[in-house]
């Protein structure tokens, strides 16, 4: 798009091109809205609760060890294994904003290209037809 030669297009073609760019701009806008809504701290709640429950199981296993001839240490191992599992899910969730930020930067670069193209189209149309 940055290399497009808008000056060679007719007025109608320029307006059509502007409409196509507007469609793409609207798609980016919708994607931005999705990114804003899709990420919230509440997403950490579920893995956080699971982590708490499995942590409690681990502690209970340790505490009951003298009464159960150490067999409850198995509970600790299972709880700990689950904690690792939840922890990885937690880390995955934690990485989501990073990914969304990267995507926002990509969309911004594309948005700038679109904005520059639209401004060029506007400048050409203004030069040919006068102000709208």
């Amino acid at each position: 798009m940055p290399d497009e030669n808008f000056a060679s297009l007719s007025d109608d073609q320029l307006v059509e091109r502007g409409a196509a760019l507007e469609t793409e701009r609207a798609e980016i806008h919708a994607e931005l809205t999705r990114l804003r809504q899709g990420d919230s701290a509440a997403r950490l709640l579920k893995p956080g609760v699971k982590l708490g429950i499995n942590g409690a199981l681990s502690v209970a296993g340790l505490a009951l060890a003298p009464l159960t001839l150490n067999l409850s240490l198995g509970l600790t191992i299972i709880g700990m294994g689950m904690s690792v599992w939840d922890g990885l899910g937690f880390v995955k969730e934690a990485a989501e904003p990073f990914r969304a930020g990267y995507q926002a930067r990509r969309l911004r670069r594309r948005g700038r290209d679109i904005d520059a193209a639209l401004q060029e189209i506007e400048a050409i149309l203004t030069a040919r037809l006068g102000p709208p």
Partner: protein, 119 residues
């Protein structure tokens, strides 16, 4: 002009991979710990206090380690979340500016149509 792909192609695949790997890591870690505790014969009546202490201490350290890792992940997420919001705000500004330009271009359509009618 190449159209922008609005969805990350590897996003869903990446999540699946993390889930799959986490399952394997967890199951392997559990199996290894069971094997290790079995080799220590912790459930035998004559197990020594020192062995028991070592086993418990190891479990506590591993549990605490996973909790610390989660806390660090939460802190990192907070930082990444603020960065993401700033990125989204800046991108929104660019998109809003483009919308205003686009709205002005739409006004030219009426002007062009009017000129065609005159000619």
């Amino acid at each position: 002009m190449s159209k922008l792909s609005l969805t990350e192609p590897n996003q869903a695949g990446g999540s699946d991979l993390v889930s799959y790997l986490s399952r394997w890591v967890t199951l392997s870690a559990c199996a290894l710990l069971f094997y290790w505790l079995g080799s220590l014969r912790l459930w035998q009546p004559d197990v020594s206090e020192a062995t028991l202490h070592t086993a418990k201490l190891t479990l506590v350290i591993l549990s605490a380690g996973s909790w610390v890792a989660c806390a660090l992940a939460a802190m990192y997420r907070h930082h990444a979340y603020r960065t993401m919001m700033r990125e989204l705000d800046e991108t929104s500004l660019v998109i809003e500016r483009a919308q205003k330009t686009s709205d002005r271009i739409k006004l030219f359509k009426a002007k062009i149509d009017a000129q065609k009618t005159l000619t």
